[in-house]
């Protein structure tokens, strides 16, 4: 086990090279609906129990099923209303279980990225070959059902190995060259995209996804009231919008159709979308669009700045 994560080096927020977004926007705004499938009776993993009670854990399973049966279309209607194309963090088995949802999203030209096979199958305990195969399966499944080359990754149920980011970038590149394996949502260290160091040396970025604004963290972990969540989203946006005048920032709302779309919560989400998209200098984008723009326009400059900053501990070029 490592004491320090070596995916990125220390790079202070102040005095970075300026990020410019298309149209001179201050904030790149994206919404990442997690569309997940939790199995009713998944196999046990030695390091993490899939359900808190003996299977069938009906309360947990059924509310997540609610998300797909009821919640998805409510969320989709709101994203349509405010002109947001979702960037779906997808349990790819959903392509087989509920292809009707995939088709609706595909028609809207939403982005699909990999969130593993099921949200009840964890990376913990996988060999490198097993994790590679799981990632390959997920990218292949997305391509087969949507035609998209998967650009992004959020590990299933945020379960990682030390190799996760390396493997995603490598498998994506092997399968689709520079069209796949471009960004990760697994790191929460920044409000701007940042270069990620991989063993392959491949150009790869972290796109801010935000646990703090993630509805499941907000509602189920931090037990926040819906109307307060709206306040949090507005404050989060206001500050990133203000700072974005200096250098572009990223705001993501990661959602779950079984949280955000409940009748007592959906108004908070609607008002947040209305507020954010009502600002002029907002680039409403997808994860891939943000990653691609950054890789093309800002990545090299960022690497040079990281290497040159006083107190910097790691030089990207030095890593083999």
């Amino acid at each position: 086990m490592k004491e320090v994560l070596d995916a990125y080096g220390y790079w202070p927020y102040e005095n970075r090279p300026k990020i410019t977004w298309p149209g001179g926007a201050r904030v790149a705004f994206w919404v990442a609906p997690n569309i997940e499938y939790y199995e009713l009776d998944p196999p046990q993993n030695p390091q993490r129990k899939p359900w808190p009670t003996p299977h069938p854990s009906v309360p947990g399973f059924s509310i997540r099923d609610y998300g797909n049966r009821v919640g998805h279309q409510r969320q989709m209607a709101l994203l349509d209303k405010f002109g947001v194309r979702g960037s779906i963090s997808l349990s790819v088995a959903l392509c087989e279980h509920h292809p009707e949802i995939i088709e609706m999203c595909r028609e809207r030209d939403w982005e699909f990225f990999s969130h593993g096979i099921y949200n009840t199958r964890y990376t913990y305990g996988m060999s490198e070959a097993q994790e590679r195969e799981m990632i390959r399966d997920s990218i292949e499944t997305i391509h087969r059902h949507t035609g998209q080359a998967c650009a992004g990754y959020l590990a299933p149920a945020l379960s990682h190995s030390e190799r996760t980011l390396d493997l995603f970038a490598e498998v994506g590149q092997e399968m689709f060259g520079e069209r796949a394996g471009l960004y990760t949502c697994d790191l929460f260290h920044d409000d701007q995209p940042t270069p990620i160091q991989l063993r392959s040396g491949r150009r790869f970025v972290s796109v801010p996804y935000s646990l703090e604004m993630n509805d499941t963290i907000v509602y189920a972990v931090n037990k926040v009231e819906p109307r307060h969540y709206l306040k949090m989203l507005k404050r989060h946006f206001d500050r990133l919008y203000a700072e974005g005048a200096e250098s572009g920032t990223v705001m993501c709302i990661p959602t779950h159709n079984y949280q955000i779309s409940c009748p007592h919560r959906i108004k908070a989400f609607e008002e947040a979308l209305e507020y954010i998209t009502g600002h002029s200098d907002v680039w409403v984008a997808t994860g891939r669009e943000i990653a691609s723009h950054y890789l093309e326009q800002h990545y090299d400059q960022a690497l040079a700045d990281i290497a040159g900053r006083a107190g910097g501990t790691q030089h990207h070029a030095d890593r083999g």
């Binding site: 009906v58 009821v70 279309q73 409510r74 279980h97 099921y118 009748p263 919560r265």
Partner: protein, 320 residues
């Protein structure tokens, strides 16, 4: 599946149920907004089910296979939680009955069979309420420490289900068509055992906002999802939100569902209440505010769960 060293064998990457529909065959995959629209009696669009859960939490709680939420947490004898829950059956329920009568609500009383047996005054009072104001009884299992769970001996569970249903039928003289498991937890056999006892509908699976058909080896069962996320105990005891925030959330849910039901066809709001919680002097006015918001609204058809199910099943769109 998992090896002793924490690694996984390749079965962990085997997904035997990865196909259209679900990884179980209890019910069909279907999205709420894609179904034929339903209407409720009197051309109303929103059916409102007010459920009052009457519960007995034993002092000598076994906690098998888990401690029921809101049950005993202290070393034996946990007088604080025992008596605070008992408060609901002695005091709180009588405040609720006044409020329900005032707003002309016809409730569904989901009662632990042991409570019905050991508090005849309470049961007679509830029966008198049903006779004069309307309403229905539903079986809420034996008591809150008799949980249904995977791994439970089938004969043991069958005896509990049979005893609970028979006791309530005998004491009330009512058919007892519905079932709510304590903590909404089930074993793999619970649906079969319910159907075997002539139970017509179950409230445990919270994955929808309309009734739907559920399969058992002993014939069909209807599922009547009793929403957890806006339950008084979920919002105030699990999420620790204030009673004012609970009022906001129920009103927001109601307003949203009224609007959706007008646009897309009949919907159902299921509101579960606990007299030990909302029956407290500082909370009862909040319940009254909620009932005042709902009762008498032009879109609302307020009815017991069994009547809502009957109205649903009588329509083409609601056919099994």
């Amino acid at each position: 599946m998992a090896r002793d060293d924490g690694s996984l064998d390749n079965d962990y990457l085997h997904y035997p149920h990865r196909h259209h529909g679900y990884d179980h065959d209890r019910y069909d995959w279907s999205m709420l907004s894609e179904r034929p629209p339903v209407t409720w009696p009197g051309d109303k669009t929103l059916a409102v089910w007010i459920n009052v859960s009457l519960q007995f939490y034993p002092l000598n709680q076994r906690g098998v296979p888990f401690k029921v939420p809101n049950g005993m947490t202290m070393p034996y004898p946990d007088l604080r939680h025992y008596s605070l829950r008992d408060y609901g059956n002695r005091v709180g329920i009588y405040r609720l009955l006044k409020a329900l009568a005032h707003y002309q609500v016809r409730p569904t009383f989901a009662i632990n069979a042991q409570l019905a047996e050991q508090t005849p005054y309470l049961l007679e009072r509830l029966m008198a309420f049903v006779n004069s104001e309307g309403g229905e009884f539903m079986c809420h299992g034996w008591n809150m420490d008799h949980l249904h769970y995977g791994g439970q001996d089938r004969d043991e569970e069958a005896e509990i289900v049979g005893r609970s249903v028979a006791t309530l039928r005998k004491l009330t003289g009512q058919p007892i068509r519905g079932w709510l498991s304590p903590a909404k937890h089930q074993s793999w056999n619970t649906p079969e055992l319910l159907a075997e006892q002539g139970i017509e509908y179950c409230a445990d699976w919270v994955n929808d906002e309309l009734p739907y058909a559920f399969r058992t080896d002993n014939g069909p069962l209807a599922m009547m999802p009793l929403t957890t996320e806006i339950e008084d105990q979920f919002v105030m005891c699990q999420n620790l939100h204030s009673e004012d925030a609970w009022v906001d959330q129920v009103k927001d849910a109601f307003d949203f569902l009224v609007e959706e039901s007008r646009q897309q066809g009949g919907r159902m709001l299921a509101l579960n209440l606990h007299p030990w919680l909302v029956g407290q002097p500082h909370r009862i006015a909040c319940l009254e505010e909620v009932l005042g918001h709902i009762a008498g609204h032009e879109a609302v058809w307020q009815a017991p769960a069994g009547e809502i199910l009957d109205a649903f099943q009588a329509q083409a769109g609601g056919a099994r």
